[in-house]
């Protein structure tokens, strides 16, 4: 960057200096024309006029016989000299001297002739003097011509030279400008090539970081802004690598604890169930094989033993199923929720053919999630609605969509007009093994809603319950919509 700025400054300086130098040359040429030729342009007629005035001065003096007038001619001569001097260097000094000498010779002769004529002198001598004087005047005229004449060829030459000089100056400027531009272009090409290489190195490195590969830092030996950027990116990558390592450790720990949990669940299933099978099996055996020796209350106790054991088995199953919900991989698909609800209710009807329940199902409801797990959700919610409307005439269960405040999710509800619950205990609804009704009123493991909540949360949704004791309950849950382009087939 600094290189380009430097070269640009140098180029401007070169252009300014060169134009300054060449401008001076042109100006010198023009000054020569001004000093050598301009003063001469009017010199000849002026000197001629002066000479004429001097001659007339003498004639006036002779005509008037006034000695003052004669004396005044001296001023006219001075004026002639001054005008000649004013031409300065434009006039060759030797020629000027000759001209002055000629003028003095004429002036002296004219003065002498005029004085003699004013004295009324006549005769051959005077006539000769007058002729000599006229010759001298003619000589002055000639000298004026030769001295003040302008050498037109030289003037044209000088003018042409100045024009040529200017043209040359323009040419030089052009070439200097072209050279400067060329070097700027060349330098910026070299610099931009470095820049492109640097940016590409940076970009590759950042992409590597983006892909989670932090092993190799970005190597960019530049001491400018890009070098700083690379250094910052490397710092960021180092922090990310530390975080990544920490996350990997946490993940390993989590996996280990998940494995432990699985092993624990498995041993719970096994070790708790084995004695249970014994209790259950032998009470059945006792009942079947020795029924004749048992009275009514003994049979009742045996039934209770078997029932309790069976119930404990169910609880163990439910707990295991619940823990399995947290581990199973989600297989999300677009699901016809209406049909799913319908099939769950059909199942309920077929297992409870004695029940009369009105089911209001909203058509065309769609959902996006794991089909097996969402079936579990509806089985539990509709199953609960079924169960808790068991003591109601005109039982009615509703499934449909609810209003969602968030555009990225859909909301659903399952409502019933059953036993309901006290909102005071609503927070306990979703905790495992929490039940709001006694087992005598409504059977259940107390794990259903906990499972539902776990499933909905694993999908990234929420669930809440509203209820009024003896009026009914309404469960509302949300499921995120599929992300753009993530529609499943």
């Amino acid at each position: 960057m600094m290189g380009i700025v430097g070269v640009t400054i140098l180029a401007f300086a070169a252009i300014v200096i060169s134009s300054e130098v060449l401008g001076h040359h042109v100006e010198r040429q023009l000054a020569t024309i001004q000093t050598s030729y301009m003063p001469k342009l009017d010199l000849e007629p002026e000197l001629d006029a002066d000479l004429e005035r001097i001659a007339r001065g003498f004639q006036d003096a002779v005509a008037t016989h006034d000695p003052d007038v004669l004396r005044e001619t001296s001023e006219l001569r001075t004026r002639f000299d001054e005008e000649l001097d004013a031409a300065g260097t434009a006039v060759d000094p030797r020629a000027a001297r000759d001209l002055k000498d000629a003028l003095n010779a004429y002036y002296d002769a004219a003065y002498d002739v005029s004085r003699r004529m004013m004295a009324d002198e006549t005769g051959e001598g005077l006539v000769a003097a007058a002729k000599a004087m006229q010759a001298k005047q003619a000589r002055v005229s000639e000298r004026i011509k030769s001295t003040a004449a302008i050498d037109r060829r030289a003037l044209a030459g000088a003018f042409a030279e100045s024009v040529r000089a200017e043209a040359r100056a323009r040419n030089y400027q052009l070439w200097i400008a072209v050279a400067c531009l060329g070097s700027i272009l060349g330098l910026s090409f070299v610099l931009s090539r470095d820049l492109i290489v640097a940016v590409s190195t940076l970009s590759k490195g950042l992409r590597r970081f983006g892909e989670g590969d932090f092993r190799q830092p970005i190597e960019l030996a530049m001491r400018d802004e890009l070098g700083d950027l690379a250094a910052h990116a490397n710092q960021m990558a180092a922090s990310l690598a530390r975080l990544d390592a920490a996350r990997a450790r946490a993940e390993t720990a989590l996996k280990a604890s998940n494995r432990e949990l699985e092993a624990f669940s498995y041993s719970v299933a096994h070790d708790l169930r084995a004695p249970l099978r014994g209790i259950n099996g032998f009470s059945h055996a006792l009942m079947e094989d020795h029924a004749d020796k048992l009275d009514g209350s003994a049979k009742d106790y045996l039934n209770r033993i078997a029932g309790a054991a069976g119930r404990m088995g169910e609880l163990i199953d439910a707990l295991l199923a619940f823990s399995r919900l947290s581990r199973a991989e989600l297989q999300r698909k677009t699901i016809d929720m209406t049909r799913l609800a319908e099939s769950v209710v059909e199942q309920l009807r077929s297992s409870h053919p004695d029940r009369k329940v009105e089911f209001v199902n909203e058509p065309g409801v769609e959902g996006f999630g794991d089909p097996t797990l969402l079936r579990t959700v509806l089985e539990n919610l509709l199953g609960n609605a079924w169960k808790f409307t068991g003591k109601r005439d005109g039982a009615r269960i509703t499934f449909g969509t609810a209003v969602s405040e968030d555009a990225t999710e859909r909301a659903y509800f399952v409502g019933d007009n059953g036993a309901g619950f006290d909102m005071e205990y609503a927070s306990k609804l979703f905790a495992p093994f929490q039940r709001l009704h006694s087992a005598n009123q409504f059977a259940g493991t107390g794990i259903g809603l906990a499972s539902v909540q776990r499933i909905i949360e694993r999908h990234g949704g929420r669930i809440r319950a509203e209820g009024t004791l003896d009026q009914g309950a309404r469960f509302e849950f949300t499921l995120p919509k599929p992300k753009e382009g993530a529609f499943s087939c």
């Binding site: 669940s265 498995y266 084995a274 099978r277 099996g281 032998f282």
Partner: protein
């Protein structure tokens, strides 16, 4: 050649008693050999160890196999049964005690013919036996025996 016997591989004494009782209740009176762990089961099937010298040409009609066994697990026993020419045709019904185990059997697909949840649920047990094509065989045998003894 397959005999009419059943090999029950079960380490839990209560389950053993209940299973034997269930078989009897269902009129399945084939001789039942009980192995108490995986190693013992394989020793019986291949005539080694405690069962050295047994005629291995005579193999059980059915193996009722528990999964969670000491020394050698049920799935390993199953694998060995399917790997060996002498035993690979034996019907194996896996005894499971939870849905978890049923999932394991499904995912291993090691060639179990069926599985039955413990304690033996007799409706399902009979179904399993039926689908194996063994039901009538077992039943006929039991019927034949009953006739022989009763007649």
């Amino acid at each position: 050649m397959l005999s009419q016997s059943i090999l029950l591989v079960e380490d839990n004494a209560d389950d053993e008693i209940l299973t034997l009782r269930a078989l009897k209740k269902n009129n399945i009176v084939n001789p039942v050999i009980v192995a108490h762990d995986g190693v013992e089961a394989l020793e019986y099937l291949f005539g080694t160890g405690a069962h050295a010298g047994r005629d291995v040409a005579e193999q059980p009609q059915l193996v009722l196999l528990d999964l969670n066994l000491p020394r050698l697990g049920g799935l390993d026993v199953l694998r060995r049964i399917r790997e060996d020419e002498r035993t690979k045709l034996i019907s194996v019904v896996v005894l499971t005690s939870s849905k978890e185990e049923e999932d394991i059997v499904r995912s291993y697909s090691l060639g179990a013919n069926s599985f039955v949840r413990k304690p033996v649920e007799f409706d399902r047990f009979t179904d399993a036996v039926k689908t194996l094509g063994l039901y009538w065989l077992l039943l006929n045998e039991s019927v034949a025996r009953r006739r022989a003894t009763g007649g």
